[in-house]
Symmetry: C2
């Protein structure tokens, strides 16, 4: 079982509106509501890959009930800890005509210390025997910024490798927990270090490697940086690789990042070597970027892309 | 008891976003979710007036549960008929900085004939002894366009006067049911008749009266047209009145229209004469337009405005 932790899930509501009137009344031509938050996209992708998953985290109120029932409809096993607050929504307004999307992300519900402790107990109970754990997304108000270090530490104590996808404080404070893989994207790494790493000529390879090594010095066992159309750069104890998709990756970047995390966790659980792990992660990310919604991909795209991913061993920059 | 029928209720979600980025990620500074749909605004206003109300209609799914629990929290008695479909949401993005609001109204859920029949049975059971019934808002898919005529006819058979606030087909087809009061606004009346009735100099009084008389010829017992800042024009079997608020009415037009309906129904239930009924309806509408959300008003505003409403008897145009 791959345990997927989503402490701040959401009900993602998407409205497709051909030509949005920003100061008037709009009637969406298509409406979609589904469980969201980065962790749940990862869980859905793993489920679609045929992996056994268990989604855990914090959920409350009527929106929390909608998240639970949406996962149940999708066949994704879940065991959320109940909280008194109301799980958040996100709203996406997609203007298909103009090719623009506006996202409105509600803040998470307040979480009490007692609620977080109840989650921690059920998390510790679920860990033994898991093949991997994924820790993904933002922390709701009331959950300490170093919580991911605590969760990673508990996983390490149970010999379960952890994949972490977080940003800002939550990412920086997590490193001492010794996560097996940390997966920031380029923008997150730039914000984390306060240094620019991309320009008109693409990403600055030496700067990215330098920042990854800093996260490793802080405790991370490996760092995989997602570079959008440039694929993945993996800085690990076993070596350094750059895995790139064929041609230009296009589409939904959120979905792509979450699919990369799913691919990395799946590879860990299956005991794939780094190169295979990266090949699958890039193919899955590229296939998912082309899908209409996060957590979805076409298996045919995934299989076809597996053969097209270019893996290059890198020299330490 | 005033029975308030809302066949297509909604969960109204409002995001306050200071400067909306229509092609990026926004973090609302304030989020609000509450039961909506015109009928539920009327029910809330009546409840705030101290009237006994019962909200009925169709509700389903998790959003329907949110509507029910929101009414319960507000202390508004409700007895909705359960449907298999999911009650709709509306989503408002309020850009306080630019003074603009974008509204996204989901379509209603499909309603089966059996579900509508179950509603009809509970409606017929609730009618006897009611002081008035309010029929307000759109009809969800699957509910016949002449349903308001059927509901008004059942009310008439139980000697309960009906106030109808609908538009388009639902309004035109309702008249034969002989509603006591029909309350279109000027734009709805223009769409109904296909004739323009307003210009730079204000509304065309003779045209409005003519259109009202057509609705009366089709069966409506009286027509009260809401004219925004110009107040109300009432065309009735007992006479013709124009009731105007002092100065310019400002603010939320949706809330104002629903409050006018509440004021008219309250006046019917209390046996107020037309002039008193209109005075209260205008004061309530004006007070509600100044409130931040539909279904709300300040009692002090309402009481103060009661003395300022100007009522003029009109000559038949």
């Amino acid at each position: 079982v791959i345990l997927v932790v989503t402490l701040n899930p959401a009900l993602d509501v998407t409205h497709h509106v051909p030509r949005v009137d920003w100061s008037g009344v709009n009637r969406p031509v298509a409406v979609r509501a589904r469980p969201g938050g980065k962790g749940l996209n990862v869980a859905r992708t793993l489920h679609a890959l045929g992996a056994e998953v268990l989604a855990v985290g914090l959920a409350g109120g009527i929106t929390g009930a909608a998240v639970r029932s949406g996962l149940s409809e999708a066949g994704v096993p879940a065991a959320f800890t109940d909280i008194a607050g109301e799980t958040r929504r996100t709203f996406a307004v997609v203007d298909d005509h103009r090719g623009r999307t506006a996202l409105f992300n509600e803040p998470g519900p307040p979480v009490s210390a007692a609620e977080y402790q109840r989650f921690l107990a059920s998390y510790a109970e679920a860990l033994p025997g898991c093949a991997a754990v994924v820790l993904s997304g933002s922390l709701p108000p009331g959950v300490a910024q170093d919580s991911y270090a605590e969760l990673t530490g508990l996983a390490a104590a149970a010999s379960v490798p952890a994949v972490l996808d977080a940003e800002g404080e939550a990412l920086l404070r997590a490193a001492p927990g010794r996560p097996a893989i940390v997966k920031p994207n380029l923008a997150e790494l730039e914000r984390c270090t306060g240094r620019p790493m991309s320009g008109p000529a693409g990403f600055d390879r030496a700067a990215v490697i330098g920042a990854a090594r800093e996260l490793m010095a802080a405790g991370a066992q490996s760092v995989v940086v997602s570079l959008g159309a440039d694929g993945l750069l993996a800085v690990t104890g076993d070596g350094l690789w750059h895995a790139a998709p064929p041609g230009e990756a296009q589409g939904n970047p959120t979905g792509a990042g979450d699919a990369v995390v799913a691919g990395l966790a799946h590879g860990l659980a299956l005991g794939r070597c780094w190169q295979e792990r990266l090949r699958h992660a890039v193919a899955l990310g590229t296939a998912s970027a082309a899908a209409p919604a996060a957590g979805e991909f076409r298996h045919a795209d995934y299989r076809r892309l597996l053969g097209d991913v270019r893996i290059a061993p890198g020299e330490a920059g």
